[in-house]
Symmetry: C2
Amino acid sequence: MPAYKTPLRDIRFLMNEVFDYPAHYKTLSNGESADADTVDMILEGAADFCENVLSPINQSGDEEGCHFENGVVTTPKGFKEAYKQFVEGGWQGLSYPEEFGGQGLPMSLNLVKSEMMGTANWSFTMYPGLSMGCMNTIMQFGTDEQKNTYMPHLTAGTWSGTMCLTEPQCGTDLGQVKSKAEPQADGTYKITGTKIFISAGEHDLTENIIHIVLARLPDAPAGTRGISLFIVPKFLPTADGGVGERNPVSCGSIEHKMGIRASATAVLNFDAATGYLIGEVNKGLHAMFTFMNTARIGTAVQGIAHAELAFQGSLPYAKERMSMRALSGKKDPEQVADAIIHHADVRRMLLTQKAIAEGGRAMIYHAAQLADKMADALSQGDQAKFEEYDDKLGFYTPILKGFLTELGLEAANHGMQVFGGHGYIKEHGMEQIARDARIATLYEGTTGVQALDLIGRKVLLSSKGKVVRDYTAEILRFCAQHATNKYMRRFAWDLTKICAQWNALTVRIMLAARKDRDIVSSASVDFLMFSGYAMMAFYWAQQAAVASEKLASGTGAETPEFYKAKIKVADFYFERLLPRSQGHAESMVNPSRTMMSLDAEHFSFDY
Amino acid sequence: MPAYKTPLRDIRFLMNEVFDYPAHYKTLSNGESADADTVDMILEGAADFCENVLSPINQSGDEEGCHFENGVVTTPKGFKEAYKQFVEGGWQGLSYPEEFGGQGLPMSLNLVKSEMMGTANWSFTMYPGLSMGCMNTIMQFGTDEQKNTYMPHLTAGTWSGTMCLTEPQCGTDLGQVKSKAEPQADGTYKITGTKIFISAGEHDLTENIIHIVLARLPDAPAGTRGISLFIVPKFLPTADGGVGERNPVSCGSIEHKMGIRASATAVLNFDAATGYLIGEVNKGLHAMFTFMNTARIGTAVQGIAHAELAFQGSLPYAKERMSMRALSGKKDPEQVADAIIHHADVRRMLLTQKAIAEGGRAMIYHAAQLADKMADALSQGDQAKFEEYDDKLGFYTPILKGFLTELGLEAANHGMQVFGGHGYIKEHGMEQIARDARIATLYEGTTGVQALDLIGRKVLLSSKGKVVRDYTAEILRFCAQHATNKYMRRFAWDLTKICAQWNALTVRIMLAARKDRDIVSSASVDFLMFSGYAMMAFYWAQQAAVASEKLASGTGAETPEFYKAKIKVADFYFERLLPRSQGHAESMVNPSRTMMSLDAEHFSFDY
């Protein structure tokens, strides 16, 4: 397992040179506190914690996994100590209000911190990650009393939280939720039902676990309009804010998973557990969707995390491992063979990993600014601005989550491939990265769910293609600005073409969908991937634009080689990865007939 | 884990209707014995063994893995008993000479048997699979004495064999082999060295293990021209053909792998072990390459095996699992939701699995006929014919191995994806398929090695593009034959286009390579994948052609629905998978400069 090294130079290049975070923070009402010194201190503190505390227990955590005995879950060796340091460092409260003990910093900083932590140890990061889902729900929909009861403990990290949505019969289709909430005379509810796949649902890291649970009132309408949201603590809070009586919610088992084995995934049985309504009755699903964007961007981070870690593993191996001679002649004449980094095909894999990690990071760091602006508008009560940014982010989210997690898995597999047979052996850790990465396209909405959200809801239903028109207009403005720069001309040209194609495809599917309703689904993943490749191209062009300016002006925080490398990787992206969009373009426009006309029983005649 | 069901209808469709195996067998000198009844008996006997003996221990074998203690390897529960039945059934000797106790049947039948066994339990199949590598080497290069000593036991399966090539410092680049062979006065050699990644290198299934070992004589030239081949038995054979003294070859450990965990992968330490030269001194690597094609086609089978098994898992799940409503209206109105097979995107995944499994099977069953012809020419001493078929197979091999194992992994991942989050949980077995499938692109030459073999050796060096011209000419003849058939017209048109493109790309890279030698590597995997998509298209068109003939004539062994489904899946392949070739085409023609000009130390500025 590669020891994680925080890519601070790349992070700072994006924050300071590409997206001008310092200026961005000045526009936020809570941005003052995020001055250059504070940001630096956080980046370096987080890097230190990730490299020295989280990374060393990543492989051992996978080997050992979580333990389950009689309802009690024990995390692997070292996790409790690491979590204690996480709490002591105040890391959970980074972007939560100062009135509850947080530091009130913009949430983009929290996302950067999560990226670092997730790359160092994704399993560990699941525990505080789920807490944030719970905290966001309470902050948005909780009463003052609820906030005062839970937020200080959650912000400190001494309590943690979960999101209890999935049941055995349903995950995506939450309208099928069966868990029941019986109203009690005292205004509380008795919650009964079984929830599965509950990440951080039971563990030994915190004093208490606060479950946010989807359940139905007895008289609730069927389907999605009859679901309410409840706070169900593992231990009921006492009047003075302490940990009280045990609530009858118990962990029935934990799952044996392909990867992220140090993250406990619990089956939770609620047996008339005391719950407190949060938000409005029957509007629980709507409330859940409020945080879907941020939660899904948090999962999109997993794509770049595993791409980054796989790259950190395969790059040094490619420099060390000697095999055969380069086609263009000996590179290491004094050695028995050349290092494999001299083979073009090995470079193709390394550059693909790098293009995904750094291109994806740029996509996420820009989305993080939108999330900051959205949160700021909300805190300022500016509903119009909130909706504007929410819409923008709503378009980005399925692309980031769907596309980056698919590419993250690809990059993780390249990491194994660079190692050859050694990549398949546990001790090198490369196969763990691929196993850990595999969950990312499944949870928080599968790739198919993201794809349908993108084309069905965001592109066709709510905007009739306007989101694509607006976004491509932004790209075309960028192209116009850079059309005369010799480094940028080719990027501008390719971007212009792909923008035209993106709009044309959108219109074509929109028209086809009038008669062929299934095309929205049959085209969806191709449309998602096409959109992802187009969008990532824009972010590589933006990085190249900054790099070429810095090279031309001779200024900039980095050595010329850093900027030159950025331009070369942008070239690589446009030459080798962007062309994949054409296969998706050609595939998606076909009518759904071929797929839909085969009877379910004719998929196989053998079984 | 899905219980394996042998796809006999599809296998028989290919053998009897598409490739006319009965007529093919009549052309072979050993084909007489492969009459319709014998073939049927073998197919059904193998199916029974696979479904009832091998499939039930596939998941438990993965869970338990192999055990290692003090140099002794124990296979998981049930493997010894299953292997005993394998021996009793005479399965190992199917295609080996009757004089050594085999059944002397064409090797294509053996390949079909291996496909079934491998799909039911790939880990188990590794043990007899490696024996075949050893047996082929002895049959081709062994003296009569060596054949008489080893072949009867190996053919029976009471002894097994291995291929000991890889060492810690080298896998692909076997010129770096360091193991030493010291000549002894009695004509034997003392073999000393460490071999790693030796599949079936140590286990408890057989009385003896016969290692084929690459090593160097003291005066051997450096590099690939100084490697000789030795037979190194675990127990030295006695004069009467029994098991004698233990040879000092010991198992130092077994690997902890991502998948195929019931297959023991050994580190073997040879400590002046007695070895017997096989074949000519210093020509060991050449001998190895003789069997590379058949060994690699054996690994290509893994692509379709995992695609098939993943499909067998996800198809019933897609029919059962209810989630959301189909976009074109309710399909299961009496249910709370529609089965997910009614969602186009789920069908896209299922059809992709099916297209890969059945399209790949067709590719392999045709290659198996070439292998039969090659073996037949060899047995008849017809060197010219042998070389003709060997050349043909040499072109197919890297495409089959490289392309089908990549697509097999994709299909396995779709299997998990159809299951959503449940795909990530061990008990359902879908994640095991993905882990098992992952090795296939790594061993027997990585995808990159296959790609370089294809474009570098087979296409450019030895034939200057002729292999592509010849193969596409065959496709074009097929297109001409079917251009007037209404079902086939669109396939013929797409195939014609892709043939032209395939030749154009070949010429373009050939010309570019004169000045840009690295382009052969930078374009290689794209060229391999393009070739694979083009080739699989031809095999889908062939299946559609047979199906459309049967539908038109109202004859054929199958129901009309079977033939209609074949045409629909061919349609799907041409609409949804073949377009991916365009991304590869666009990518491969770029000069290697962008990839090669980045200094190794500038791949990262952070680590």
